[in-house]
Symmetry: C2
Subunit: 211 residues, 2 copies
């Protein structure tokens, strides 16, 4: 698989394929043409064929895609079955929402622990996850070796904590703080979650009808 | 402006341009070449020129973009300055996080009210926003005519409430419930926020280095 040259734009579409295929599988759909899948996803069939050809295809001409096979292949490309270990920094509203509703385990991740500074929550369990004081961060990482840290702490604290995480060897940051983290270590990957992007897109689409 | 045929992929990139331009403006940057902007955003300069040409350009050859002008033009294309009126359905963790931290007003939206079913919160104010009982939904919409409803309620309640919103005349749904809403009215626009997409992309990028 010539994976090195796959553009990030294609990669970013893969989770959407995965999501739709999972839903199809749950509805009992076994096989689907690229035309049908395209219609469902609101993209073109040629886009789908192009995207999936980056990874070697998976479909047969005139026969379509095997939904389960394709879903598993995409899972394997994305690496979602590697049981990456996760810690959460900050158990405010977003942190709690993720702990309680995100279903990390079901999605192939191990949620190890949470960290906060507030005496009200340190030492308690939220949704079965123990909240540690941030002072214990380095010791905890060195012992448990998490792969990904979720940043759901206040913006002002994010840059300093990010540096501590990276210095402790964490290479994946899932950043909800809406602040751009400038980290010099090239091995560190940051994914930013910007809620506003989708609201702005919604704005645009609402405006289309008024013209 | 030939706006009708702009692909949704281009539209979805505009909020990112907007975000970066806003940050640049705040850092005092007045002018920027497409090459510099591309480097900052991690895309190619030709992609930027292509995207912005969909709307008629905005740059001058060898001179670059005026940051403030470009930001304002993108805001106007997106329609973010229309003061769309918003209501929030469900004040659990995600609903509260949005009310307290999203800065609707600063982003050009008016957050009118929230709705919930729990007696613990109905009648209270959260971050200055009054929480109404969901029973009052139709009467409230008919009086205040909000444009967008944010769905931060439990998945199981989402489909029924979505239908009530649409029947009351709301055409924009910002959906955090991770459930696909199948609404027959073509005027209704739904933007889904899927946290997992970015976590999966992060997974992939972490895996790249291991190969």
């Amino acid at each position: 698989m010539a994976k090195d040259r796959i553009s990030i734009a294609v990669i970013r579409r893969l989770p959407r394929y995965y999501r739709h295929l999972e839903e199809l599988l749950q509805s009992g759909v076994v096989r689907m043409s690229s035309r049908q899948l395209a219609q469902r996803m609101g993209i073109t069939a040629s886009q789908i064929r192009q995207d999936l050809n980056c990874f070697g295809g998976f479909g047969q001409q005139g026969y379509g895609y095997n939904v389960e096979y394709l879903k598993n292949e995409i899972a394997s490309i994305l690496g979602v079955n590697r049981l990456y270990k996760i810690i959460i920094l900050g158990v405010g509203n977003i942190g709690r929402a993720l702990i309680n509703n995100f279903n990390f385990e079901k999605r192939g991740f191990q949620l190890l622990a949470a960290f906060d500074v507030s005496e009200d929550v340190v030492g308690t369990d939220i949704g079965g996850v123990r909240v540690h004081h941030i002072n214990e961060l380095e010791a905890y990482i060195s012992e448990h070796k998490p792969d990904v840290a979720v940043l759901t702490l206040p913006r002002s604290a994010a840059p300093e904590v990010a540096v501590r995480l990276v210095n402790s060897g964490i290479h994946g940051l899932w950043n909800f703080t809406n602040i751009d983290l400038h980290l010099s270590d090239e091995r560190v990957k940051v994914e930013n979650v910007h809620f506003s992007d989708s609201l702005m897109t919604l704005c645009y689409r609402l405006g289309e009808d008024e013209k």
